[in-house]
Symmetry: C2
Subunit: 469 residues, 2 copies
């Protein structure tokens, strides 16, 4: 066939370049498909060779990591004060989300929430005092993740705060998380006004004892089962927790009624949970953490066990690289902003909540929760596409966490950072957006793709351990 | 181009015949699409001509019917005893599902449930006595639908039974339904053993006063809002009501806690609702009924306002034909049977629950609840296909009841029986399956396409009113 004959035929185009090429073809009426291909992310030649040399060994380590991660069974077993339960907690220690960060590099919302926590603890009498104390060196800061904990947004945990205690029943390890404060002015978004502190005090003094007693009455609550059902009910348990919160509420309510003698307080607690469809987020996060922590310290494994953001840096930890953090600049999310706010107001992405994506929930399971895509201006098909993309960078599918619209296919689980680098596709994350200044709070909600930098560094870091043998 | 040239080209086939033709083409590797086309159902030439002559007039009447149906706002406003509230209710009257049917033509489950109700009411001391009394002529029978009511499966309502009172706030009309009994041996599936009667008595004496008081405390509960949310959460509110039941539970619980002084009873009621994900079915049914009843008696309209089965006949009523019933033989559903049962054991399709499909929920919205298709051996894609088919026979889309996987398209609403006949596609219905013998109970759950016969008769019946002018 001569070249002229070819152009007499209808042409079908396979486009591996920019998606905008395809758009032009479509406009012109040509039949085309878009291949989602990008050149690999830039990493050193030496790392690539090491990764190739030890590919099978890494594959075996990853299989072991995934066996552990997917067989985890997170259950809520109780509540307690942070000081009494979180390993290494102290009165002068404040835990925050993401990787380690010094006061001078902390973002506005984290600073705001720390100042609020110092007032809440009675360590400072005013915001001015709190700011001086925080910068004085008398207060230590550490990542939640280094204390078996997670926190949404600023993720602040101080000594007196009540926390959920989650156990991975299969492996015995524990994880902790504070109670979700609800919407409006809240500490996790960096707000610290008197109403914020007052609500935290009510949660500590009224809500916590009631919930604690109800959980004791029940013995335990199976969080894996709730998450599993919630994915069949429109949640991805990161930015949408309406179903999971409802199912948790159904379980806890009879126990609250049975054990709480103060009826008005019981009703207030019920209405507090009812008024906050995100209540379950502070359970889906430590549930994810408990599953992933069990797979730490598996040499050679390229599976991510943490993705977390402190509002300045985006941090990653791998099963195969111990406690090492690999970080890069945290991006500002694409978001739908509340009236009066724009991207100019937005803080870079923040919070430990990306632990849900690390397990294969949240943005990875967004096809199960198309309402989230719709909320930020996308379609249900976009949501499916995001989830399908995530299968390209994951090591397994989770048979217990299913995507109904993909005919109940298991959600993509276990980020293999080799695939992230080779395919140059980074994890897709659902997120809330905080104002960049302390004391303001939430200004929007959105989605983002993780930056490539921390994954590049993680790739090099893992290669280094291979070289060392 | 000569005929020989055509066969040198890749062939694309449009198949309007049996779907199995396409399967063969696919097997052979040929590109083909299936047109879902069937010859129209057989109706008289005269009716077709009348329907054609008055097409625009019917279109206008249907537009009015759909305006009324889609603007209905069903709210739960209270509870009461059937005798005190249901119009025309009497101590010697038993209401049943579907169209009118005499004792001698009644199916096993309906007979079983009627005998159970006579014992429950204290009108008979044993099943033998109940059977004699039921056949004696001293007890009257009438369809729920003719008394502003609906009932699932056998749909039995007797004088002492407590009922939900639903008001269509927009138009003021009321609808009634009993409380859902849960799973296992239950009256609605024709069971009548002492445990069945005992549970009904507990529901009347303990649960009803508690729920009634809680609803009074709340004033009203917006059912349209709950259904709207539930469709975003994996329910179609016929065979799947987990989300709707959860949302209802979240609303009613604080009011139960506040108003009920007997804690153990309050807990029993909470656990009863918790233990029965179908609890909301007995609210989605009268909610649908309240919306559709407002559109009765609109001359010329070909919109169905009732589809209901008494276990012997499948009945249809239209907006344009007053109280007339159009009936045909009720089919046995395709179902997944519980262990030990087969299609041989199954009663023909039964219950008023197809009122949900009549409004555009249930099988019409099954794409929102793919778990139902999966349960009966289908795929999520099957569920989407069923819903897409229903757009072909409906007059409108309901902007408040959306299908997430169809990018939040409004559910197909308002069955235009002209389209049913012209396209020869009958409504798709989700259903439970009762044993054909009295006293056994549920043996499975499944799906079915309505029989064409009642729609053919309805078409002829509507044409007759056109002829009369």
């Amino acid at each position: 066939m001569s070249i002229n004959d070819i152009f007499k035929q209808p042409i079908k185009v396979v486009n591996t370049g920019l998606a905008s090429f395809q758009t032009n073809l479509e406009t012109a009426g040509a039949e085309s498909i878009q291949v989602n291909w990008r050149p690999p992310a830039e990493v050193s030649k030496e790392s690539i060779l090491l990764m190739e040399q030890f590919r099978e060994r890494t594959d075996r380590a990853n299989a072991e990591a995934m066996r552990i991660i997917l067989s985890g069974k997170p259950v809520l077993i109780g509540m307690g004060k942070a000081l009494d339960y979180i390993p290494g907690m102290r009165g002068d220690l404040i835990l925050h989300s993401g990787s380690p960060v010094t006061w001078d590099r902390m973002c506005g919302p984290t600073r705001g929430a720390i100042m609020g926590a110092l007032i809440y603890e009675g360590l400072a009498g005013s915001i001015e005092e709190a700011e001086v104390l925080a910068a004085s060196g008398k207060i230590s800061f550490a990542p939640c993740h280094e204390h078996a904990s997670v926190g949404p947004m600023a993720g602040i945990i101080s000594a007196s705060m009540p926390v959920f205690i989650i156990q991975n029943e299969t492996y015995g390890n524990l994880a902790y998380c504070t109670l979700n404060e609800g919407l409006g002015k809240v500490l996790r978004y960096g707000a610290f006004s008197p109403e914020v502190i007052e609500k935290l005090k009510w949660m500590e003094q009224v809500m916590y004892p009631i919930l604690k007693t109800a959980i004791e009455k029940l013995g335990k609550i199976d969080l894996r089962n709730i998450i599993s059902q919630a994915l069949h009910m429109g949640d991805e348990v990161h930015n949408r927790n309406r179903a999971a919160t409802s199912l948790f509420y159904r379980i806890i309510t009879p126990a609250i009624v049975e054990t709480c003698e103060n009826k008005p307080d019981a009703i207030k607690v019920l209405n507090f949970i009812n008024g906050n469809d995100h209540f379950f987020l502070n359970l889906s996060m430590p549930a994810s953490k408990a599953c992933l922590d069990a797979a730490r310290d598996i040499p050679w494994s390229s599976i991510a066990v943490v993705m977390a953001r402190n509002g300045t840096d985006f941090g990653v930890q791998l099963a195969g690289t111990g406690d090492q953090w690999f970080t890069g600049k945290s991006p500002v999310p694409d978001a739908l902003f509340f009236p009066g706010y724009t991207k100019e107001d937005a803080n870079p992405d923040i919070g430990d909540s990306a632990i849900t994506e690390t397990l294969g929930l949240g943005g990875f399971a967004i096809a199960a929760a198309p309402a989230i895509a719709q909320f930020v201006g996308g379609t249900a098909q976009d949501a499916v596409r995001y989830t399908l993309d995530m299968y390209q960078i994951t090591a397994a599918e989770n048979p217990l966490f299913q995507i109904p619209s993909l005919n109940f296919r298991g959600a993509p689980a276990g980020i293999d950072i080799r695939k992230v680098i080779e395919k140059n596709i980074t994890p897709f994350i659902d997120t809330g957006v905080a104002h960049k200044n302390p004391g303001v709070g939430q200004v929007g909600a959105g989605v983002l793709s993780a930056p490539i930098e921390p994954f590049r560094k993680a790739y090099e870091g893992l290669a280094k351990t291979m070289k060392a043998g």
